[in-house]
Symmetry: C2
Subunit: 405 residues, 2 copies
């Protein structure tokens, strides 16, 4: 069902970083569900995590470990989120890290655990640990493709991409991977995404870069408005290129940041394109808002409306639902006579009603496409924001009604 | 599909008030889509309206007319919301009122218009006006049943009920009707609901009573989180019983208010029971909150979660989704270790994880019922709130994907 999304192209290795996978049978047998990322000594790692108050045990532990030292391994499992598992969940996450620490000879706090899958069931620790030797035995620099497959849950397509840019005579490489596909409404963080570069970037700068980029990529997507308990996004800088970002000209730093942002936008949009049951990829841009926060509030109100999303599924230009969503978004002093709404290049609404010259035929033609743009001008200021979402289909209901069976 | 909802029982006439209907063919032929309520001279009328900024032309006009004088007629059409119709919509609403004013000999501002249906299409004024003679010709005190049918859109069952109570030797009657069934998340007002009593209640007291009651009934339900452009709730006091509420003892006033609240709760819950595609009726109670606002925020966050709603549709006690919704509701300092969540009498979660003694079998048994209660204790204070909602089914997607075809 993925919209305009193809399997990853060539994924470039990041020098010093290796990836391995295993079929540990955590929830189902016969699928990769365990991924290990090995980082070189000296790599810098930044991460952002979900703000859901019921964040998962591995999120707590990863955050704690990241504060104490620099990671050497990322340990990722699917099939079980180890969330809503209380004290037992905390012990289970630690046990998995301990097992990997013993097998690799590193201190336990140099391992960051990540889990995704069903919430509220005990993590099958023994099965996970039994998969570690295979995962470690398969570690290789060009393991991105299999790792990108290994972190998927209800996703239908692996999501990964690479970028290169020239900085001060060095060829710098960035490669990242991410997974969706439901419970997607990242809040100050994101779902699972892992991005690495061979650029040398100090910890504080790396964290600043990551936060800025995440806010304009993963934090601008929504499938169903449900912020996960397990969201995490990790950025690793191995430094293998010997190109030190903090020694470069500001314009080079900006070029690196933009390339990173570009890569993260592609991954974030890939999650929406492969959103559960998605048949449409929808870009919602709100402009002329009084503030960025206001623009986002209106954009998400449209993006989360079940009525808007089912109309997109039907390919029905039922723009009255978009208008109703804008009207209920909580902008109390909104002057509806100044609001204009476009579907791609077709103006739907102005002066509080249907636009002059509106043609149902022209609107229906745009709605029939797989990629649709909605633009809302509020007539209140200069702020604008963009979010990406998908439609709401029978398939979304089926996937989530049958999720645990 | 309506959950535990039967056609209305005996509907008691309210002395002095008459109702008439017609098939005006506003959107489809062969169905009642035009309703006229005639109020006696001297009746007091209170109303609350949607806070959606794109509120419909009839909402604007009804509010304006209500401020200037006391209404004699309510004019209701389905099939077209006359919302998002700009200046033309305002003229169209007025033209309909003018036509009714001419045929009844009352001033135009004594008519309140109400519309519900598709947003953004011009109101077929001529068809509506051509139905007025039939509607006026059928006016009768016992017309509640046909009127309750005449205001329906995607509803599958008419929603109306009556109550009686003794006040100071008088038998006081209340009768009301309402319609849903989608775009239901009333905000400080409600979808279309019309309630009448033969009690004599002065305008300011009537408005106060209505606002208080609406906040605990219609403003506590949600089907899809989408606040309509056309919501309105009207309360009429004909005074025909000669029982003056403001001359009664406080306990009698309280008894009247409670009876009114009871009637409105039944109508509000009927809207949820007949929510688009509903197969479950779900009561979400949040207690031990720091404030009522906090309790409502958490309750609506659970009630609007597509993941929670699809799990209810599946009858799957996937309580991790409820927990995740509580965790993302925006209570920043929520101590998850103090949160407890129950499904009817089964404790699902405590101490940040699955409750001791939790049984999937017991939970699945409760989830298999059509009427389900979720109780969330936050461990933060004494405030509690209750909202009512329904599940999210294939049928909801079908109804809203095919709505305009």
């Amino acid at each position: 069902m993925a919209v305009g999304l193809h399997p990853p192209g060539e994924l470039l290795a990041i020098e010093g970083l290796r990836l391995g996978t295993a079929e540990a049978g955590i929830r189902k047998s016969g699928r990769r569900d365990l991924v290990v990322l090995e980082l070189p000594e000296g790599a810098e790692t930044a991460a952002v995590f979900t703000r859901n108050r019921f964040c998962a045990a591995p999120v707590h532990l990863a955050r704690q470990h990241l504060e104490s030292t620099s990671p050497r391994y990322l340990l990722i499992n699917t099939g079980n989120a180890n969330a809503g598992t209380g004290q037992r969940g905390a012990r289970d996450a630690l046990r998995c890290c301990q097992a990997l620490a013993e097998q690799t000879g590193v201190a336990v706090d140099r391992i960051l655990p990540f889990s995704t899958g069903v919430i509220g069931e005990p993590l099958p620790v023994d099965r996970l640990i039994s998969g570690l030797p295979t995962a470690l035995g398969s570690l290789r620099p060009d393991g991105w493709q299999t790792a990108a497959e290994g972190i998927l849950t209800t996703d239908t397509v692996a999501k990964a991409c690479s970028r290169q840019l020239e900085l001060d005579g060095h060829t710098i490489t960035l490669t990242g991977m991410a997974k969706g596909a439901g419970m997607i409404r990242p809040d100050m963080a994101t779902m699972l995404a892992f991005v690495a570069t061979d650029c040398s970037v100090g910890g504080p700068l790396l964290q600043r870069l990551l936060q800025g980029v995440v806010d304009q990529s993963f934090n601008r997507i929504t499938v169903d408005g449900d912020t996960s308990t397990n969201d995490a996004c990790v950025l690793v800088a191995t430094g293998a290129s010997h190109c030190r970002l903090d020694a470069l000209h500001p314009e080079d730093v900006a070029a690196f940041a933009e390339t990173l942002a570009d890569l993260c936008r592609e991954l974030a949009q890939a999650i929406v394109r492969d959103g559960e049951g998605a048949t449409r990829f929808i870009t919602i841009q709100v402009e002329e808002a009084a503030s960025a926060a206001e623009a986002l509030t209106v954009a998400y109100c449209v993006a989360h409306s079940p009525l808007v999303k089912t109309a997109f599924f039907a390919g029905d230009p039922n723009w009255g639902r978009i208008l109703a969503a804008v009207g209920r978004a909580g902008v109390d002093d909104l002057d509806v006579d100044r609001v204009r709404i476009w579907l791609d290049d077709v103006c739907l609404a102005e002066h509080g009603g249907r636009a002059d010259g509106y043609s149902e035929e022209a609107a229906a033609e745009r709605m029939a496409k797989q990629e649709i743009g909605i633009r809302v001008a509020l007539g209140r200021g200069n702020a604008s924001e963009t979010v990406w979402t998908c439609d709401f289909s029978y398939e979304y209901v089926r996937i989530n009604a049958e999720y645990r069976t």
